[in-house]
């Protein structure tokens, strides 16, 4: 396939990769459009990093093919390297070189690099430009790593755990950087387990679980697949009359447990429930209403919570 006829920025077809007994990537197919910001979401060990390593041509799949910007990632490796920017999760840089020295070194690898000062400023490292890599904080190292992924003005950027270890302000700054990339038409593949980030940035998201794509949709579409849009919970002193809430048009499901009632539904759920309770003379306390989010979708689609991996990591 030549570059001019490629219809998708990334075309992965039934990628399969196993490490000894563990299947890391199991028949993953993805088609990522030019200019799209695409999220890969999943828990630790779900196969996200291996998937992007296959896309970046860093590993050879056991089966399946992948082409990036119309280039075969193994055969056209040299050409791919010109247009691909990668931030790797497990890669360090020369420990005793400074931020500015590293940016200038990596800049020499590319035809038309972003000027070092401009790039360093865009990731907020101007004041640390003379600091050695080993002496940077984790968040600063992360930002430098992202800067180096962008130094060659890539057409496709792969970012593995973009904002892990960043403070809220740096995180917002990174999100703005991604928005800039989107505006300039760069395709972005974002590996993440941060729901908020994916919901905010990505056009589409693939949910990975145990090496498989279990769902692929826009963030809003995934939320819809969770089966409900809203959830209202409250505490009631007395048992509710049978059918009181179940019969409302807005209500999909009602659970009761631990003295709390959880109502899932759609539309103006909170108002419908409140009115019904008042009419029936039920006093509800501690009423809460929440919109379903991507994390609810994740639970519904995979059967476990996304954030459990974070607990395991710490």
């Amino acid at each position: 396939m030549s570059a001019t006829t490629a219809t998708a920025a990334v075309e992965a077809d039934r990628l399969y990769k196993r490490f000894r007994a563990k299947v890391a990537v199991d028949e993953v197919s993805l088609s990522i459009a030019y200019g799209e910001v695409f999220g890969l979401l999943g828990r630790n060990g779900a196969g996200k990093t291996t998937t992007v390593e296959l896309i970046a041509g860093l590993r050879r799949p056991d089966r399946g093919t992948v082409s990036v910007l119309g280039l075969d990632v193994r055969r056209d490796r040299a050409r791919l390297r010109q247009v691909l920017g990668v931030q790797l999760q497990e890669a360090t840089l020369h420990a005793t070189l400074t931020v500015a020295e590293l940016v200038r070194l990596y800049a020499t690898f590319y035809r038309d690099p972003v000027p070092a000062g401009e790039l360093i400023e865009s990731v907020g490292l101007t004041e640390s430009a003379r600091t050695r890599f080993a002496n940077l904080s984790g968040g600063q190292q992360q930002r430098l790593s992202i800067a180096l992924a962008l130094v060659g003005r890539p057409r496709l950027v792969i970012l593995d755990e973009l904002t892990t270890g960043l403070d809220p302000e740096a995180r917002r700054q990174m999100w703005a950087t991604i928005e800039d990339l989107r505006v300039s038409g760069v395709t972005v593949v974002l590996v993440s387990h941060a729901m908020e980030e994916v919901e905010r940035l990505c056009d589409r998201v693939a949910l990975l679980d145990a090496g498989r794509v279990v769902a692929l949709d826009s963030p809003a579409g995934l939320v819809r697949r969770a089966g409900f849009a809203q959830r209202v919970t409250f505490r009631a002193a007395l048992p509710l009359p049978a059918g009181l809430l179940e019969d409302l048009d807005e209500v999909d499901r009602v659970h009761t447990g631990n003295g709390r009632v959880t109502v899932e539904g759609h539309g103006d759920l909170l108002q419908a429930v409140s009115v019904a309770l008042v009419r029936a003379g039920v006093v509800a306390t501690e009423t809460r209403s929440e919109q379903a989010g991507l994390d609810d979708a994740f639970v519904a689609l995979t059967g476990h919570r996304l954030d459990t991996e974070e607990d395991a990591r710490r």
């Binding site: 570059a3 040299a78 990668v86 790797l88 360090t92 840089l93 005793t96 020499t108």
Partner: protein
């Protein structure tokens, strides 16, 4: 979308990479002990036991046999053991992995490493030489030019062995083990533990062509002003070619 053309990092990239490596070496003071301290140490251990009897051309046994052995050991140690373990560190820490997704070629990394390493060896050898002159009244080689040429060729051959070790080792830690084994095997067959005359014929012959024995023998000849034989030089040349070919074929970024 326009066709992607390949841009190869140019001279500027090589220069910046080289300067970066130099800065790293200069900032890592502990790393300077081996290339600068080791030659002097090896010299002190060997030179004190060397006889001062003249062996010809006004050169003593120290000049003709001990100093060539010391210098050969130094370049062998740095080339075969030090260089692959440094590359192993690069590989283990993910630095090579990161460079592997840029248009930088493996040659860029390897050549910069080798150049800086050789510079360190040169400084180390000169320091050891000065020490030998000051403490042990060492005499310079009768054929200075050929001696320097032979030492340069030996260094290149040892780095070629180091490249083979780095390219073929399955894991970073095994690179160090394989490097040490190769160092002692080459050393033993090349006269590091006594003259090659006492070795079985076959081993002595092979050892004379492999870089340790070849370098040692050729350097010794140059020191005495004797003609340097073709065999050792060809052996070292072949080693260099093999090192370049094998490392190019088997080099991995991680």
């Amino acid at each position: 979308m326009s066709e992607v053309t390949v841009y190869r990092p140019g001279p500027r990239s090589w220069a910046v990479m080289l300067v970066s490596e130099l800065k790293m070496v200069a900032r890592d003071t502990a790393g300077l002990i081996v290339p600068l301290g080791l030659p002097m140490l090896i010299l002190l251990v060997n030179a004190s036991s060397a006889g001062r009897q003249p062996v010809g051309q006004g050169r003593t046994a120290l000049d003709a046999y001990v100093l060539p052995l010391v210098f050969t050991m130094v370049v062998a140690m740095t080339g075969i053991v030090n260089m692959p373990s440094f590359l192993a560190y690069y590989r283990r820490s993910g630095i090579l992995r990161r460079l592997g997704v840029t248009p930088a070629s493996p040659a860029l990394v390897l050549v910069a490493q080798a150049a800086v390493g050789i510079l360190q060896i040169a400084v180390g050898v000169v320091a050891a030489w000065i020490l030998a002159v000051l403490l042990f009244d060492a005499n310079p080689p009768v054929s200075v030019g050929p001696a320097i040429g032979v030492l340069a060729l030996t260094t290149a051959a040892m780095y070629a062995i180091g490249l083979i070790v780095a390219a073929l080792s399955p894991t970073p830690n095994s690179a160090v083990a394989i490097g040490l084994t190769a160092f002692f095997a080459l050393g033993a067959s090349g006269g590091m533990f006594g003259g090659r005359d006492s070795l079985p014929d076959v081993i002595a012959t092979i050892g004379g062509v492999l870089p340790f024995g070849a370098g040692n023998q050729a350097l010794s000849a140059a020191w005495l002003g004797a003609p340097v034989e073709a065999g050792p030089l060809l052996g070292m040349g072949a080693t260099i070619v093999a090192g370049v070919v094998i490392s190019a074929l088997f080099f991995r970024w991680e």
